[in-house]
Amino acid sequence: MTVPAIELKGISKAFGPVQANKDISISVAPGTIHGIIGENGAGKSTLMSILYGFYKANKGEIWIKGTKTDIPDSQAAIASGIGMVFQHFKLVENFTVLENIVLGAEDGGLLAPSLSKARKELKDLEEEYELFVDPDKRIDEIGVGMQQRVEILKALYRKAEILILDEPTGVLTPAEADQLFRILDRLRAEGKTIIVITHKLREIMENTDTVSVMRRGQMTATVKTNETSPEELAELMVGRKVLLQVDKVPAQPGKPILEVENLRVFDSAGVERVKGIDLNVRAGEILGIAGVAGNGQSELLEVLGGMRPGQGTIRLNGAPLALSGAGSDGQARRAQHIAHVPEDRQREGLIMDFHAWENVAFGYHRDPAYQRGIFMDNAALRADTEAKIEKFDVRPPDAWLAAKSFSGGNQQKIVVAREIERNPDLLLVGQPTRGVDIGAIEFIHKQIVALRDQGKAILLVSVELEEIFSLSDRIAVMFDGHVMGERLPHETDEKELGLLMAGVAGEAA
């Protein structure tokens, strides 16, 4: 048997009373792609931080190519041939690609020789691995796909033999993700060892050789990818059977609830982000808006939710909505029965340092049910919160906990509970399951579908195509501020939507 490229033996790490990693052992063969999946908070991140020298394990050993290795800091990780591509890239935005690659791996006190040497080596690496970048472009001038390639090149420039990628496809279009996996294939063919951390089962199934599943700090299984199934992996992750497909009956659309005509939205810098779009959402249907992040979907949601002014016409139940000035704020929208689960729950949906029960009041704090004379009726509010916590299975069920102390999935449940329980006519949902674990995804999806079945209109914005497909009754694709086309989920596929998302127009919509 070949010597494993990397082997972990009994790694344990505790933060105070919380056991983040418990006796973890894995062994990854050289020249393979190894997937690690697990829910948020399962301990994947801690494990990778230990490998990259951010944390020190309380117990356990790391063996690299058959040698026991200590990794006290990132320097040591790099020296032992480990390269890490983080979920949030660690690039200096106003530096060039070349400067970013050289940073920390310079050859001497002066820059010029390092830079010219790197330029030459970069050319070789590019050709060897088909990783093309323009070395003289600044990071803020290139797209995320390119930025990720810079991160990979950074690792290769440091002679990494083991490449760890943390949620690498979160920010990519389907086409870019495919390209990434082609690059990883190529790296594997050249003998590199690759560890991919992700929560996307499909990526694991399509691209890895072996896969390890983590749950609650423990490694629950390591299996060969071709001997397992998505259902089995999901069950291993969550610890119970999970429905990967949303169970829903065909939509029974009624009259139009939301009608958008020629909507134009400008951002704070005066750039036109939504360039005259038409949409409608009917009662009892979910309209999914697909698109790569940053193509105007966020601005669309913000205008509808009263967070940003717009131009054009929006009608709710036939009556026009104010798009700027008085009556166009979030308070007015809520009074008109529009509920909003914003895209960024930590910035727009919650105040992270506030208690759960305080967060449940936001947006509805003027509700007479929460008032007692001129004071807030905190007891009533807390009772209401406890009811919502129970109904939405928020864990831990503690209304006094600060929002930041809940996991991503439970934070989202608090927001969703607050908005859905108002029984709105129109629900706006942005990225409902971003950073949410599989068990909670299933739950949130069910709640959204249940609301639809009560005859409510739902506008869903998501960058996750899987989510768009499984929830939507109709799909509109946005690119560069335009709606590129509308499709019915059963009449289209990821490939066609991917093309629309990249701005390649299909047949007329």
Binding site: M48, S74, K90, F95, V102, G108, G109, A112
Partner: protein
């Protein structure tokens, strides 16, 4: 011709007055480029001014005074580093504390040591930096145009003036042509990138803060031992803050910093030279002239000179996270 002589004299005084600003401004540039905001430039200069004057007065050696000034400024830098890098405290508050500390401590120690009402004895002879006269300055001074420029404007400053202006190209070179400079700029923009590249964020930031201390030390010593002859209470008179304004005006770039400091120096020189300006019957009082540099500071800080984007990670303590 008389106008020309006046101009040369004003410019000459501009150079002298711009020197402490320039040193402090470059000091701030190193610190802030590394992501450590420093409003304690003022306090460090003041401390250095006192200790350089005190040591120079006692020992009679201005060089020992300079060393003492740098050392005292470095101690305050260390304090700022400890508070804002090691303990991840608020950089503004630490800076404010340093300013108060310096303001009180200098007068207190001065009174206790010299009993002259919070000042040091006047410096003379070897206790001061003397002007350096360039070769042939005297013989060339009669040549029209070039002569006065050479003899008055370029020649006849103390060594620290030349050091300050040489620091400009040196800083540019360090920042943009060396490994240290690349890392310094990176740590002020995105410390996580530096950290994951295997370079110590803490080490880099302490190095930057130390350079800042040395330059503030020179600036303070220049005030007390070259520009003036001894320490008086609050003698920095807000120069540390003007230097900060110049730094923002210059958008954290060394050559622009020199330009900005010369502009502030010019305003101070004009205020000194023309006490009351008579503009066709309307007399602008001296107080307005004296206030000019400070007014410009407010105007700059209010953002009237275009958008200045500070180093992105400035003011934020670095916490390791994934």
């Amino acid at each position: 011709m008389e106008f020309f002589i006046t101009l040369i004299q004003v410019l000459d005084s501009t150079v002298r007055l711009a020197t402490p600003l320039l040193l402090a401004c470059l000091a701030g540039l190193y610190s802030e480029r590394a992501g450590i905001f420093d409003i304690g430039l003022e306090g460090k200069m003041l401390m250095a001014a006192f200790f350089s004057a005190a040591v120079a007065a006692v020992t009679g050696s201005v060089w020992l005074g300079l060393l003492a000034g740098i050392a005292s400024s470095l101690v305050l830098s260390g304090l700022h580093g400890l508070a804002s890098i090691t303990f991840r405290g608020n950089q503004l508050i630490s800076g404010v504390a340093i300013n108060f500390l310096a303001s009180g401590l200098t007068v207190l120690i001065a009174q206790s040591w010299f009993k002259q009402g919070g000042r040091t004895p006047s410096l003379f002879g070897g206790g001061r930096f003397e002007p350096i006269t360039f070769p042939f300055a005297d013989s060339l001074s009669n040549v029209p145009i070039i002569g006065p420029i050479y003899a008055e404007l370029l020649s006849g400053h103390s060594i620290l003036v030349y050091v300050a202006f040489l620091m400009v190209p040196l800083t540019w070179w360090v920042l943009y042509r060396t490994r240290f400079g690349l890392r310094l700029r990176a740590v002020g923009e995105n410390p996580a990138a530096v950290d994951t590249a295997g370079v110590s964020v803490v080490g880099l930031r302490f190095a930057a803060v130390a350079i800042c201390g040395v330059l503030c030390g020179i600036a303070g010593a220049y005030l007390a031992t070259a520009l003036q002859a001894g320490f008086v209470k609050e003698m920095t008179a807000g120069r540390g803050f003007i230097a900060l304004a110049a730094l923002i005006f210059a958008k954290w770039r060394p050559w622009h910093a020199m330009g900005a400091c010369l502009l502030f120096g010019l305003l101070q020189a004009v205020a000194l030279r023309f006490q009351n300006i008579d503009l066709g019957g309307v007399v602008i009082p001296v107080q307005v002239m004296d206030a000019l540099p400070y007014i410009l500071t407010v105007v700059i800080l209010a953002g009237f000179v275009g958008k200045a984007i500070p180093p992105r990670a400035g003011g934020e303590p670095y916490v390791k996270e994934r």
